[in-house]
Assembly symmetry: C2
Homo-oligomer: 307 residues x 2
């Protein structure tokens, strides 16, 4: 079966920035959320993916997700917005798809969220069900660190053949530049030319882009769009040296991600330091970094002059 | 701090049977669910844990969980019912705690369900929050296969010191009998004498009970209470040889769990074979075993004369 995309493949290229979805108490902090979206619009990111992992989608109920989708599309002006629709239960995924459509999203991000480990066929059927239920293009979200599902090249291939699958968001992982070229080459061979490949795992984004990824699905880009855009543009212009240099300047941030249990809590702390979100903006049981760790984040933010 | 239990520690001993929560379409199959509970009452299990992993708790919304809690307590007569209250978000856990209390549950089962990997302190605070919100005793549910959270002995110890923590449900894992004694001894040293230890992982339950576990939190016991009660009683009477022999008779069932991605889909297939639940009773994206696998389950069920 040939995948004839009804969508514009260029939609899923460049920098897609993933904003936080800050809470205030147990409710969406709408002002802060809209502020984050407006900041991304001003910076000129290529697209916004709201309700990604960084946007705490898995913790929000279908009503909260509908509201966040609506706010993000309204605030994004002419920047395309993609909405994360994943949920443990297919029924809820479909509710999120409908609310993303109503909001005016231009794409969907879907991870195989699991409690019971899923089989390849179950994941395939999930994507088949979703792509058959909507005309919106879907980004396959491969994030084993949160879903604990491992995609094979064969499954990538089956999914890429579904009408409606437009892009694959692959996890970052340490690899030498040669390793990256091989890895992207293997994925490209599996999925063909019509489906874009986007790198996540911000520390590895420069290498991923240099090796041929079409997009960077970026956690930190949702809070620090300027330096991530510079890296993206350098790679797009074929200036690998500059892309690597700009990414290396952010090494202290990548190191914080490694030291403090991943990118989410560090990104929230940076956003709090910049006055973009309040304290305790994450959904419990996930908690803010402790004060000592926040001080360390502040030191890095100040030394790098992050803004 | 000394943990002075307000509850009867014997509540969390013996066989706690975990029924499926069958669906019909996207709704709770109430007749089938009540039938499963009544079957456990007739068999004389020591307690029923509804909405465990086998009961698909993670896939049901707070309304569905309130209804299942109510039905299970109503149908269980004088058998104590424990209710699984875990959820990705603490807010929803607390809603489930309140509905379990209203239903008349005698205990709660709580796993650190995660999307973003949780820290030890986050998990501790989750249990602290829940135990402070209710007088019901809480079973700490350690199930790394679904939560991907790894408990340390130190965290067990901190949790056991919380008023309200009554039992720890430990995962099954292959170990020699000597290994089991050491493992249970280490946990006992960490948690003290007031908190019971319950084994899960049905294939390893006999060894766990022989090594000193107080309870068996059993998947298959929710569907096949008779043979699981026999194993439990043999171990309780100190007849290790008989307990091992009876468990070995069920080896073909344990082998099905290994062959077909864990216990849930196999248990649903056994329940379907016995006419206890309909086809497609699991929450999508989780699917029934395929027809070939179901035939294999039927062969095992018939050869063992499971009823």
């Amino acid at each position: 079966m040939t995948n004839t995309p009804a969508h514009d493949p260029s939609l899923f290229t460049g920098l897609s920035a993933f904003p936080l979805t800050p809470l205030k108490g147990e409710s969406l902090d709408e002002d802060a959320f809209v502020g984050l979206i407006e900041r991304l619009v001003l910076a000129g990111v290529d697209s916004i993916t709201a309700l990604g992992s960084t946007g705490s989608y898995a913790y929000l109920n279908t009503d909260e997700r509908a509201r966040a989708a609506q706010l993000s599309v309204e605030s994004a002006l002419d920047i395309p917005v993609f909405i994360g629709v994943g949920a443990l239960r297919t029924r809820d995924v479909l509710v999120n798809v409908a609310s993303a459509e109503s909001a005016g999203a231009q794409g969907l991000l879907l991870a195989p969220v699991s409690y019971q480990p899923l089989t390849d066929d179950e994941v395939f059927e999930l994507f088949r069900t979703v792509t058959e239920s909507t005309d919106l293009p879907v980004v396959v979200y491969d994030n084993p660190g949160t879903t604990h599902f491992t995609f094979t090249a064969e499954l990538y291939s089956r999914l890429a053949a579904l009408d409606g699958v437009a892009s694959i968001k692959i996890p970052g992982a340490a690899a030498s530049p040669v390793g990256w070229n091989e890895r992207i080459g293997e994925i490209r061979a599996a999925i063909g030319g019509e489906v874009t490949i986007g790198i996540s795992g911000d520390a590895h984004a420069a290498e991923g882009l240099i090796a041929g990824c079409d997009a960077w699905y970026s956690v930190i880009g949702g809070t620090l769009p300027a330096p991530t855009l510079e890296i993206t543009r350098a790679a797009e212009f074929g200036n690998a040296e500059l892309a690597r240099e700009l990414s290396a300047e952010l090494q202290p941030v990548w190191d914080l991600f490694t030291e403090f249990e991943g990118s989410l809590r560090v990104t929230a702390a940076i956003a709090e330091h910049l006055g973009l979100v309040g304290a305790d903006s994450l959904p419990l049981p996930v908690r803010d970094l402790d004060e000592a760790a926040k001080r360390k984040v502040t030191e890095v933010a100040e030394s790098l002059d992050l803004a």
